[in-house]
Amino acid sequence: MIRLAPRALPALLVLPWLAVVAAPALAASDAKLQRQAYLAAELAAARSKAFYLVFDPGAAALDLKIEGVRVHRFALDRAAFGQSRMAGGGERRWPAVVYTLTTDIPEPERPRIEIQKQEDVDKALDEAIKKAIARGKKPAGELPETAGEKVAKQSRVEDPEAPVSFVLEFDPGLVLVVRGEPDATDFGGYLRRLRYSLVEGWEGFLLWIRGDAPAARIVAWLPPGDARRLYKALTPELTLLLYAPPPA
Protein backbone atom coordinates (compact mmCIF):
# COMPACT_ATOMS: atom_id res chain seq x y z
CA MET A 1 0.00 0.00 0.00
CA ILE A 2 2.76 2.33 0.97
CA ARG A 3 4.63 1.46 -2.21
CA LEU A 4 1.52 2.07 -4.34
CA ALA A 5 0.90 5.51 -2.87
CA PRO A 6 3.42 7.40 -5.01
CA ARG A 7 1.86 5.86 -8.16
CA ALA A 8 -1.68 6.77 -7.06
CA LEU A 9 -0.67 10.29 -6.19
CA PRO A 10 -1.01 11.73 -9.72
CA ALA A 11 -4.44 10.09 -10.04
CA LEU A 12 -5.48 11.59 -6.71
CA LEU A 13 -4.32 14.97 -7.93
CA VAL A 14 -6.31 14.59 -11.15
CA LEU A 15 -9.56 13.67 -9.35
CA PRO A 16 -10.49 17.19 -8.16
CA TRP A 17 -9.72 18.52 -11.64
CA LEU A 18 -11.97 15.82 -13.14
CA ALA A 19 -14.75 16.73 -10.72
CA VAL A 20 -14.52 20.38 -11.73
CA VAL A 21 -14.56 19.54 -15.43
CA ALA A 22 -17.28 16.89 -15.23
CA ALA A 23 -19.75 18.80 -13.01
CA PRO A 24 -20.87 21.33 -15.66
CA ALA A 25 -21.14 18.52 -18.20
CA LEU A 26 -23.43 16.59 -15.84
CA ALA A 27 -25.42 19.75 -15.13
CA ALA A 28 -25.75 20.41 -18.87
CA SER A 29 -26.94 16.85 -19.43
CA ASP A 30 -29.50 17.27 -16.60
CA ALA A 31 -30.66 20.57 -18.10
CA LYS A 32 -31.05 18.84 -21.49
CA LEU A 33 -33.08 16.01 -19.92
CA GLN A 34 -35.25 18.56 -18.12
CA ARG A 35 -35.80 20.49 -21.34
CA GLN A 36 -36.66 17.28 -23.18
CA ALA A 37 -39.13 16.26 -20.48
CA TYR A 38 -40.77 19.70 -20.56
CA LEU A 39 -41.01 19.87 -24.36
CA ALA A 40 -42.37 16.32 -24.61
CA ALA A 41 -45.02 17.22 -22.02
CA GLU A 42 -45.82 20.48 -23.82
CA LEU A 43 -46.20 18.66 -27.14
CA ALA A 44 -48.69 16.25 -25.55
CA ALA A 45 -50.59 19.17 -23.95
CA ALA A 46 -50.57 21.17 -27.20
CA ARG A 47 -51.96 18.22 -29.15
CA SER A 48 -54.78 17.75 -26.64
CA LYS A 49 -56.48 20.94 -28.01
CA ALA A 50 -57.27 21.90 -24.41
CA PHE A 51 -55.95 24.91 -22.51
CA TYR A 52 -52.94 24.36 -20.29
CA LEU A 53 -50.76 26.48 -18.01
CA VAL A 54 -47.01 26.79 -18.08
CA PHE A 55 -45.30 28.09 -14.98
CA ASP A 56 -41.97 29.77 -15.64
CA PRO A 57 -40.14 30.15 -12.31
CA GLY A 58 -37.34 32.20 -13.89
CA ALA A 59 -39.72 34.83 -15.23
CA ALA A 60 -42.26 34.48 -12.38
CA ALA A 61 -45.02 34.11 -14.95
CA LEU A 62 -47.89 31.79 -15.66
CA ASP A 63 -48.73 31.33 -19.34
CA LEU A 64 -52.15 30.23 -20.55
CA LYS A 65 -51.58 28.24 -23.73
CA ILE A 66 -53.45 26.19 -26.25
CA GLU A 67 -51.99 24.30 -29.21
CA GLY A 68 -48.59 25.66 -28.23
CA VAL A 69 -49.82 29.27 -28.62
CA ARG A 70 -49.57 31.57 -25.64
CA VAL A 71 -52.90 33.38 -25.38
CA HIS A 72 -52.21 35.17 -22.13
CA ARG A 73 -49.28 35.74 -19.82
CA PHE A 74 -50.06 36.27 -16.15
CA ALA A 75 -47.08 38.21 -14.87
CA LEU A 76 -46.79 37.52 -11.15
CA ASP A 77 -45.87 40.31 -8.74
CA ARG A 78 -44.08 37.71 -6.65
CA ALA A 79 -44.01 33.94 -6.34
CA ALA A 80 -42.64 31.84 -3.52
CA PHE A 81 -42.12 28.10 -3.18
CA GLY A 82 -42.98 26.64 0.19
CA GLN A 83 -42.26 23.31 1.80
CA SER A 84 -43.86 22.08 4.99
CA ARG A 85 -41.65 22.11 8.07
CA MET A 86 -43.57 19.00 9.22
CA ALA A 87 -42.38 17.20 6.10
CA GLY A 88 -38.89 17.99 7.23
CA GLY A 89 -38.02 20.61 4.65
CA GLY A 90 -35.41 18.62 2.81
CA GLU A 91 -34.15 19.51 -0.65
CA ARG A 92 -36.05 22.22 -2.46
CA ARG A 93 -37.01 20.51 -5.68
CA TRP A 94 -40.13 20.67 -7.86
CA PRO A 95 -42.10 17.44 -7.44
CA ALA A 96 -42.61 16.90 -11.19
CA VAL A 97 -42.75 18.55 -14.62
CA VAL A 98 -46.42 17.81 -15.39
CA TYR A 99 -49.31 18.35 -12.99
CA THR A 100 -53.08 17.86 -13.27
CA LEU A 101 -55.62 20.09 -11.55
CA THR A 102 -57.68 18.08 -9.06
CA THR A 103 -59.69 20.93 -7.53
CA ASP A 104 -63.30 21.04 -8.72
CA ILE A 105 -64.18 24.17 -10.64
CA PRO A 106 -67.80 25.02 -9.86
CA GLU A 107 -70.10 26.00 -12.71
CA PRO A 108 -70.62 29.76 -12.64
CA GLU A 109 -73.95 31.06 -11.42
CA ARG A 110 -75.93 32.05 -14.47
CA PRO A 111 -78.17 35.08 -14.42
CA ARG A 112 -81.56 34.44 -16.02
CA ILE A 113 -82.76 36.60 -18.87
CA GLU A 114 -86.11 38.16 -18.23
CA ILE A 115 -88.32 37.67 -21.25
CA GLN A 116 -89.40 41.06 -22.55
CA LYS A 117 -93.04 41.89 -23.06
CA GLN A 118 -93.88 42.61 -26.69
CA GLU A 119 -95.77 45.83 -25.89
CA ASP A 120 -92.67 47.18 -24.07
CA VAL A 121 -90.46 46.36 -27.06
CA ASP A 122 -92.91 48.05 -29.42
CA LYS A 123 -93.12 51.13 -27.23
CA ALA A 124 -89.34 51.37 -26.96
CA LEU A 125 -88.70 50.94 -30.66
CA ASP A 126 -89.30 54.15 -32.44
CA GLU A 127 -91.01 53.85 -35.85
CA ALA A 128 -87.97 55.36 -37.60
CA ILE A 129 -85.67 52.81 -35.97
CA LYS A 130 -87.96 49.96 -36.98
CA LYS A 131 -87.96 51.14 -40.58
CA ALA A 132 -84.18 51.53 -40.67
CA ILE A 133 -83.64 48.05 -39.24
CA ALA A 134 -86.11 46.56 -41.71
CA ARG A 135 -84.14 48.17 -44.56
CA GLY A 136 -80.87 46.78 -43.15
CA LYS A 137 -79.63 50.27 -42.26
CA LYS A 138 -78.08 51.48 -39.05
CA PRO A 139 -80.78 53.54 -37.34
CA ALA A 140 -79.99 57.12 -36.37
CA GLY A 141 -81.91 57.18 -33.10
CA GLU A 142 -80.97 55.79 -29.70
CA LEU A 143 -81.69 52.07 -29.57
CA PRO A 144 -83.59 50.69 -26.59
CA GLU A 145 -81.75 48.67 -23.98
CA THR A 146 -81.31 45.04 -24.99
CA ALA A 147 -81.81 41.99 -22.78
CA GLY A 148 -78.04 41.44 -22.88
CA GLU A 149 -77.36 44.97 -21.65
CA LYS A 150 -79.87 44.51 -18.82
CA VAL A 151 -78.13 41.27 -17.80
CA ALA A 152 -74.69 42.92 -17.95
CA LYS A 153 -75.86 45.81 -15.75
CA GLN A 154 -77.61 43.46 -13.32
CA SER A 155 -74.53 41.22 -13.16
CA ARG A 156 -72.34 44.18 -12.29
CA VAL A 157 -74.55 44.94 -9.31
CA GLU A 158 -75.44 41.47 -8.08
CA ASP A 159 -72.89 39.01 -9.36
CA PRO A 160 -70.13 38.26 -6.93
CA GLU A 161 -67.36 38.18 -9.53
CA ALA A 162 -64.87 35.38 -9.77
CA PRO A 163 -62.72 35.16 -6.64
CA VAL A 164 -59.40 36.97 -6.48
CA SER A 165 -57.83 34.64 -3.93
CA PHE A 166 -58.15 30.90 -4.28
CA VAL A 167 -56.30 27.63 -3.82
CA LEU A 168 -55.76 25.08 -6.58
CA GLU A 169 -54.57 21.55 -5.88
CA PHE A 170 -52.56 19.65 -8.45
CA ASP A 171 -51.45 16.07 -8.70
CA PRO A 172 -48.69 15.09 -7.89
CA GLY A 173 -48.31 17.00 -4.65
CA LEU A 174 -48.47 20.68 -5.58
CA VAL A 175 -50.75 23.44 -4.33
CA LEU A 176 -51.01 26.78 -6.10
CA VAL A 177 -52.20 29.56 -3.81
CA VAL A 178 -53.33 32.57 -5.83
CA ARG A 179 -53.49 35.88 -3.99
CA GLY A 180 -55.05 38.56 -6.15
CA GLU A 181 -53.90 41.40 -3.96
CA PRO A 182 -50.84 43.59 -3.66
CA ASP A 183 -48.07 41.99 -1.63
CA ALA A 184 -48.12 45.00 0.69
CA THR A 185 -45.18 45.67 2.97
CA ASP A 186 -47.13 48.02 5.26
CA PHE A 187 -48.57 47.05 8.64
CA GLY A 188 -51.87 45.88 7.07
CA GLY A 189 -49.94 43.67 4.69
CA TYR A 190 -47.90 42.27 7.57
CA LEU A 191 -51.08 41.41 9.50
CA ARG A 192 -52.57 39.74 6.42
CA ARG A 193 -49.43 37.67 5.93
CA LEU A 194 -49.47 36.71 9.61
CA ARG A 195 -53.09 35.56 9.31
CA TYR A 196 -52.28 33.53 6.19
CA SER A 197 -49.30 31.84 7.79
CA LEU A 198 -51.26 30.99 10.94
CA VAL A 199 -54.11 29.43 8.95
CA GLU A 200 -51.61 27.64 6.71
CA GLY A 201 -49.71 26.36 9.74
CA TRP A 202 -52.78 24.98 11.47
CA GLU A 203 -53.95 23.35 8.27
CA GLY A 204 -50.53 21.77 7.87
CA PHE A 205 -50.62 20.59 11.46
CA LEU A 206 -54.08 19.03 11.01
CA LEU A 207 -52.85 17.27 7.86
CA TRP A 208 -49.88 15.93 9.80
CA ILE A 209 -52.18 14.66 12.56
CA ARG A 210 -54.27 12.87 9.93
CA GLY A 211 -51.11 11.30 8.59
CA ASP A 212 -51.21 13.16 5.24
CA ALA A 213 -48.04 14.69 3.86
CA PRO A 214 -48.55 18.41 3.20
CA ALA A 215 -47.85 19.15 -0.47
CA ALA A 216 -45.31 21.65 -1.70
CA ARG A 217 -46.91 24.94 -2.62
CA ILE A 218 -46.46 28.00 -4.75
CA VAL A 219 -47.90 31.24 -3.44
CA ALA A 220 -48.41 33.65 -6.32
CA TRP A 221 -49.32 37.32 -5.93
CA LEU A 222 -50.85 39.03 -8.93
CA PRO A 223 -53.19 41.95 -9.63
CA PRO A 224 -56.86 41.25 -8.73
CA GLY A 225 -58.05 41.57 -12.36
CA ASP A 226 -55.52 39.00 -13.50
CA ALA A 227 -56.45 36.65 -10.66
CA ARG A 228 -60.11 36.79 -11.75
CA ARG A 229 -59.10 36.24 -15.35
CA LEU A 230 -57.02 33.22 -14.31
CA TYR A 231 -59.92 31.79 -12.33
CA LYS A 232 -62.26 32.18 -15.30
CA ALA A 233 -59.75 30.43 -17.56
CA LEU A 234 -59.61 27.30 -15.37
CA THR A 235 -61.00 24.07 -16.75
CA PRO A 236 -61.41 20.70 -15.00
CA GLU A 237 -58.22 18.61 -14.97
CA LEU A 238 -56.23 21.48 -16.41
CA THR A 239 -52.59 20.60 -17.08
CA LEU A 240 -49.84 22.64 -15.46
CA LEU A 241 -46.32 22.34 -16.85
CA LEU A 242 -43.11 23.47 -15.27
CA TYR A 243 -41.08 25.38 -17.81
CA ALA A 244 -37.50 24.31 -18.42
CA PRO A 245 -35.31 26.77 -20.35
CA PRO A 246 -33.07 25.63 -23.21
CA PRO A 247 -29.74 24.35 -21.88
CA ALA A 248 -27.03 27.00 -21.92
Binding site: A40, V69, R93, P214
Partner: protein, 238 residues
Protein backbone atom coordinates in the same frame (compact mmCIF):
# COMPACT_ATOMS: atom_id res chain seq x y z
CA UNK B 1 -100.22 30.02 70.17
CA UNK B 2 -97.68 31.62 72.36
CA UNK B 3 -95.45 28.76 71.89
CA UNK B 4 -92.17 30.05 70.88
CA UNK B 5 -89.86 28.17 68.75
CA UNK B 6 -86.45 28.01 69.96
CA UNK B 7 -83.63 28.15 67.58
CA UNK B 8 -81.58 24.97 67.72
CA UNK B 9 -78.45 25.24 69.66
CA UNK B 10 -75.63 25.56 67.17
CA UNK B 11 -73.61 22.44 67.28
CA UNK B 12 -69.98 22.70 67.35
CA UNK B 13 -68.62 21.63 64.02
CA UNK B 14 -65.18 20.19 63.57
CA UNK B 15 -64.45 23.13 61.39
CA UNK B 16 -65.42 25.59 64.01
CA UNK B 17 -61.94 25.69 65.29
CA UNK B 18 -60.66 26.53 61.87
CA UNK B 19 -59.92 30.16 61.30
CA UNK B 20 -62.84 31.87 59.64
CA UNK B 21 -62.07 33.98 56.64
CA UNK B 22 -62.61 37.52 57.47
CA UNK B 23 -63.11 40.43 55.16
CA UNK B 24 -59.62 41.65 54.92
CA UNK B 25 -56.72 41.80 52.51
CA UNK B 26 -56.58 38.00 51.94
CA UNK B 27 -59.49 37.59 49.35
CA UNK B 28 -58.20 40.63 47.49
CA UNK B 29 -54.86 38.91 47.28
CA UNK B 30 -56.51 35.77 45.77
CA UNK B 31 -58.24 37.65 42.93
CA UNK B 32 -55.08 38.58 41.06
CA UNK B 33 -53.92 34.97 41.44
CA UNK B 34 -57.02 33.75 39.60
CA UNK B 35 -56.56 36.42 37.00
CA UNK B 36 -52.94 35.48 36.68
CA UNK B 37 -53.87 31.85 36.15
CA UNK B 38 -56.37 32.80 33.46
CA UNK B 39 -53.85 35.07 31.78
CA UNK B 40 -51.12 32.45 31.97
CA UNK B 41 -53.52 29.85 30.59
CA UNK B 42 -54.50 32.11 27.70
CA UNK B 43 -50.88 32.97 27.00
CA UNK B 44 -50.08 29.26 27.01
CA UNK B 45 -52.87 28.53 24.53
CA UNK B 46 -51.76 31.38 22.26
CA UNK B 47 -48.15 30.27 22.49
CA UNK B 48 -49.10 26.66 21.75
CA UNK B 49 -51.18 27.83 18.78
CA UNK B 50 -48.25 29.88 17.48
CA UNK B 51 -45.81 27.03 17.96
CA UNK B 52 -48.16 24.58 16.22
CA UNK B 53 -48.70 27.07 13.40
CA UNK B 54 -44.96 27.49 13.02
CA UNK B 55 -44.27 23.75 12.98
CA UNK B 56 -47.21 23.05 10.68
CA UNK B 57 -46.30 25.98 8.47
CA UNK B 58 -44.17 26.34 5.41
CA UNK B 59 -40.76 27.79 4.84
CA UNK B 60 -40.60 29.79 1.64
CA UNK B 61 -37.95 30.65 -0.92
CA UNK B 62 -38.26 32.51 -4.24
CA UNK B 63 -39.43 30.12 -6.98
CA UNK B 64 -36.32 30.78 -9.03
CA UNK B 65 -34.19 29.21 -6.27
CA UNK B 66 -35.91 25.82 -6.41
CA UNK B 67 -34.15 22.92 -8.12
CA UNK B 68 -35.85 21.50 -11.21
CA UNK B 69 -37.72 18.22 -10.95
CA UNK B 70 -35.47 15.17 -11.06
CA UNK B 71 -34.93 14.42 -14.74
CA UNK B 72 -36.73 11.40 -16.07
CA UNK B 73 -34.19 9.21 -17.91
CA UNK B 74 -37.01 8.07 -20.24
CA UNK B 75 -37.29 11.65 -21.48
CA UNK B 76 -33.75 11.37 -22.77
CA UNK B 77 -34.94 9.06 -25.53
CA UNK B 78 -36.90 11.88 -27.17
CA UNK B 79 -35.04 13.96 -29.71
CA UNK B 80 -34.96 17.56 -28.60
CA UNK B 81 -34.77 18.97 -32.11
CA UNK B 82 -37.64 16.85 -33.36
CA UNK B 83 -39.94 17.88 -30.50
CA UNK B 84 -39.11 21.53 -31.07
CA UNK B 85 -39.96 21.15 -34.77
CA UNK B 86 -43.26 19.44 -33.97
CA UNK B 87 -44.18 22.21 -31.52
CA UNK B 88 -43.22 24.92 -34.00
CA UNK B 89 -45.40 23.23 -36.63
CA UNK B 90 -48.43 23.76 -34.38
CA UNK B 91 -47.93 27.55 -34.35
CA UNK B 92 -50.15 29.52 -36.76
CA UNK B 93 -48.21 30.56 -39.85
CA UNK B 94 -50.04 33.83 -40.52
CA UNK B 95 -52.31 36.06 -38.49
CA UNK B 96 -54.48 34.65 -35.73
CA UNK B 97 -57.13 36.02 -33.41
CA UNK B 98 -57.27 35.75 -29.61
CA UNK B 99 -60.57 36.45 -27.85
CA UNK B 100 -60.49 37.24 -24.13
CA UNK B 101 -64.16 36.75 -23.17
CA UNK B 102 -63.62 37.68 -19.53
CA UNK B 103 -62.21 41.12 -20.39
CA UNK B 104 -64.12 41.59 -23.67
CA UNK B 105 -60.98 42.08 -25.73
CA UNK B 106 -59.90 40.81 -29.14
CA UNK B 107 -56.27 40.70 -30.20
CA UNK B 108 -55.16 40.25 -33.76
CA UNK B 109 -51.74 38.60 -33.65
CA UNK B 110 -48.97 37.75 -36.06
CA UNK B 111 -46.43 35.43 -34.44
CA UNK B 112 -45.93 36.97 -31.00
CA UNK B 113 -46.66 40.50 -32.17
CA UNK B 114 -49.95 42.23 -31.35
CA UNK B 115 -51.26 43.81 -34.58
CA UNK B 116 -54.48 45.11 -33.04
CA UNK B 117 -56.05 45.11 -29.59
CA UNK B 118 -59.75 45.91 -29.78
CA UNK B 119 -62.58 46.31 -27.29
CA UNK B 120 -65.24 43.71 -27.97
CA UNK B 121 -68.41 42.25 -26.53
CA UNK B 122 -68.64 38.58 -25.66
CA UNK B 123 -71.43 36.37 -24.28
CA UNK B 124 -73.39 37.24 -21.16
CA UNK B 125 -73.16 33.72 -19.76
CA UNK B 126 -76.86 34.13 -18.97
CA UNK B 127 -79.59 31.58 -19.37
CA UNK B 128 -82.88 31.97 -21.24
CA UNK B 129 -85.75 29.65 -20.46
CA UNK B 130 -88.82 29.44 -22.64
CA UNK B 131 -91.39 28.50 -20.07
CA UNK B 132 -93.93 27.61 -22.73
CA UNK B 133 -91.80 24.88 -24.29
CA UNK B 134 -89.17 24.27 -21.59
CA UNK B 135 -86.36 25.01 -24.03
CA UNK B 136 -83.23 26.50 -22.48
CA UNK B 137 -80.35 28.40 -24.03
CA UNK B 138 -77.04 29.45 -22.44
CA UNK B 139 -75.46 32.49 -24.05
CA UNK B 140 -71.79 31.89 -23.61
CA UNK B 141 -68.88 32.52 -25.94
CA UNK B 142 -67.29 29.14 -26.61
CA UNK B 143 -63.76 28.47 -25.35
CA UNK B 144 -60.99 26.72 -27.16
CA UNK B 145 -59.77 26.78 -30.74
CA UNK B 146 -61.93 27.58 -33.74
CA UNK B 147 -61.16 28.39 -37.35
CA UNK B 148 -62.62 31.07 -39.60
CA UNK B 149 -64.81 28.83 -41.74
CA UNK B 150 -66.28 31.54 -43.92
CA UNK B 151 -66.61 35.30 -44.34
CA UNK B 152 -69.43 37.49 -45.57
CA UNK B 153 -69.64 41.17 -46.39
CA UNK B 154 -72.94 42.90 -45.57
CA UNK B 155 -74.21 39.77 -43.85
CA UNK B 156 -77.82 39.14 -43.03
CA UNK B 157 -78.80 37.29 -39.90
CA UNK B 158 -81.45 34.62 -39.75
CA UNK B 159 -82.94 35.30 -36.36
CA UNK B 160 -83.01 32.07 -34.33
CA UNK B 161 -85.91 31.03 -32.10
CA UNK B 162 -84.25 32.33 -28.94
CA UNK B 163 -84.25 35.89 -30.27
CA UNK B 164 -88.03 35.77 -30.60
CA UNK B 165 -88.43 34.11 -27.20
CA UNK B 166 -86.18 36.71 -25.56
CA UNK B 167 -88.18 39.55 -27.10
CA UNK B 168 -91.51 37.97 -26.30
CA UNK B 169 -92.39 37.76 -29.98
CA UNK B 170 -94.25 34.90 -31.67
CA UNK B 171 -92.16 32.73 -33.99
CA UNK B 172 -92.62 33.81 -37.62
CA UNK B 173 -94.41 31.49 -40.00
CA UNK B 174 -92.11 32.22 -42.93
CA UNK B 175 -88.36 31.80 -42.92
CA UNK B 176 -87.96 35.02 -44.88
CA UNK B 177 -89.48 36.92 -41.96
CA UNK B 178 -86.49 35.94 -39.84
CA UNK B 179 -83.94 37.78 -41.94
CA UNK B 180 -82.34 40.84 -40.32
CA UNK B 181 -79.75 42.62 -42.43
CA UNK B 182 -78.80 45.31 -39.89
CA UNK B 183 -77.77 43.44 -36.75
CA UNK B 184 -74.38 42.06 -37.82
CA UNK B 185 -72.78 45.24 -39.14
CA UNK B 186 -70.69 45.28 -42.30
CA UNK B 187 -68.76 42.01 -41.95
CA UNK B 188 -69.14 38.57 -40.40
CA UNK B 189 -66.52 35.88 -39.88
CA UNK B 190 -68.12 32.49 -39.26
CA UNK B 191 -66.64 30.25 -36.56
CA UNK B 192 -69.09 27.35 -36.75
CA UNK B 193 -72.15 26.32 -34.67
CA UNK B 194 -73.72 29.74 -35.35
CA UNK B 195 -70.90 31.66 -33.64
CA UNK B 196 -69.42 34.64 -35.45
CA UNK B 197 -67.19 37.64 -35.12
CA UNK B 198 -69.31 40.49 -36.44
CA UNK B 199 -70.22 44.15 -36.15
CA UNK B 200 -73.03 45.64 -34.13
CA UNK B 201 -75.66 48.32 -33.88
CA UNK B 202 -74.79 48.50 -30.18
CA UNK B 203 -71.27 49.91 -30.17
CA UNK B 204 -72.22 51.65 -26.91
CA UNK B 205 -71.99 48.29 -25.11
CA UNK B 206 -68.56 47.28 -26.40
CA UNK B 207 -66.46 46.25 -23.41
CA UNK B 208 -69.48 44.62 -21.77
CA UNK B 209 -70.57 40.98 -21.85
CA UNK B 210 -73.87 41.45 -23.66
CA UNK B 211 -73.99 39.01 -26.58
CA UNK B 212 -75.59 35.64 -27.11
CA UNK B 213 -72.17 34.03 -27.61
CA UNK B 214 -70.91 35.80 -30.74
CA UNK B 215 -68.02 38.26 -30.55
CA UNK B 216 -68.93 41.81 -31.52
CA UNK B 217 -66.43 44.41 -32.66
CA UNK B 218 -66.65 48.09 -33.49
CA UNK B 219 -66.82 48.92 -37.21
CA UNK B 220 -63.20 50.09 -37.57
CA UNK B 221 -61.64 47.19 -35.67
CA UNK B 222 -63.86 44.70 -37.49
CA UNK B 223 -62.58 45.97 -40.81
CA UNK B 224 -58.94 45.43 -39.72
CA UNK B 225 -59.72 41.87 -38.57
CA UNK B 226 -61.72 41.20 -41.74
CA UNK B 227 -58.79 42.27 -43.92
CA UNK B 228 -56.15 40.35 -41.92
CA UNK B 229 -57.99 37.09 -41.23
CA UNK B 230 -58.66 34.93 -44.29
CA UNK B 231 -60.69 31.73 -44.18
CA UNK B 232 -58.65 29.19 -42.21
CA UNK B 233 -57.40 31.72 -39.66
CA UNK B 234 -57.15 30.26 -36.17
CA UNK B 235 -59.25 31.87 -33.45
CA UNK B 236 -58.35 31.12 -29.82
CA UNK B 237 -61.12 31.93 -27.36
CA UNK B 238 -60.66 31.91 -23.60
Amino acid sequence: MNETTQAPEPQESPLAAAPVATAGPAPRAQLPTVLKRILFGMAGVVLAALVLAWFGGYSYVPVADVDPAAPDPAAGKANLGQIEKKLAALQPKGAYVVVDSAQNRVRLMRRDEVVLEAIASAGTGAELVDEATGRTWVFETPRGVRTVLGKKKNPCWRRPDWDYVENGEPLPKKNSDRIDCAALGKYALFLGDGYMIHGTLYERSLGMSVTHGCVRLGAKDLEVVWNAAPVGTKVYLY
